[in-house]
Symmetry: C2
Subunit: 183 residues, 2 copies
């Protein structure tokens, strides 16, 4: 087993933002040479698979400025400082969709872009949904459209790229695997 | 259907780097208010599911400075300017693993972090591998350890978080779904 570690020699804070920070590290490589690493610090996020009593997947459509287009995704949001991920998951589900759930079951977690960012997504399954309010309770700069679709409709949306993000793609495969394993 | 678009009023280039650029956009929101969006521009990447003749998954272990630890992932790499993704996929597979393949079959693509970055990953399946050289041909600042594991071993590595990134998590589910559907 080689020692692959890259040790920071100098760290430069390039930008401290509302959601992300950018750091530039001069690192020493395993062979003794040096290189630069651009790193995005992110607070981490949660995402929620929520199925209604009619077995429809609760989804949100929102404008993604980085892509200059709207995507349909499973409900998600970034963690507040000191907030446990399952609490974030409950809060985001309720704010974005008006649904509450009996419990949040952890499914898995993954780093989204380990090559340049430390963002981690904790994925949950929302057990037993209840509609607690008709309206969403969004942040003041958040505009989100609620959708409820069958898995077949979601797969069609993945084909035509209305759904086009890693966490939602993972979630759809997860649901299909669960169903095949139940057969 | 609401118009969710967020129009840029002012764009500020904060940082232009080797791999990522950071931009800060003042945007006008659907309700007429304004907000700020922090955006990472990334050239996009490819990732490759490569199974050996013994049905083992070809994987690479590398240090991820953003996480300050090593992860085991499927072979991947960022696209060079003007390079078609399947060419990048062939090149990265060969450089990181010493394997060539007969053809690269596109599986899907996804944005990894649409909330703040435009990074897209094109996922391929490498058909019919051939070992073309014993050694890797890595970039001068790239240190990568080659692994070949069964799917069961990969799932165990996912449980203990040696595997912990979105594209590899997606790839493992993809392989399981293929196998269940072939039964």
């Amino acid at each position: 087993m080689k020692d692959l570690e890259e040790k920071t020699i100098v760290k430069k804070d390039i930008y401290k933002g509302k959601i992300i920070d950018l750091e530039l590290h001069d690192v020493s490589l395993p062979n003794g040479n040096t290189s630069k690493r651009e790193i995005i610090q992110h607070p981490g996020a949660v995402a929620v698979i929520a199925l209604t009593n009619e077995n429809k997947l609760v989804m949100v459509k929102q404008y993604r400025k980085a892509l200059e287009k709207s995507l349909v995704e499973i409900p998600a949001g970034k963690m507040e400082k000191g907030e446990a991920p399952e609490i974030t998951a409950m809060r985001e589900l309720e704010e974005e969709t008006g649904y509450s759930c009996e419990s949040m079951e952890p499914i898995t977690s993954f780093y989204t872009s380990p090559g340049f960012a430390n963002e981690i997504v904790y994925l949950y399954f929302a057990n037993r949904l209840t509609r607690i309010h008709e309206n969403q309770a969004l942040d003041e700069d958040e505009f989100v459209e609620l959708l409820e679709v069958t898995i077949e409709e979601a797969e069609e949306m993945m084909k035509n790229k209305q759904i086009h993000d890693a966490k939602t793609a993972y979630a759809l495969q997860y649901i299909k695997l669960q169903r095949l394993n139940q057969k």
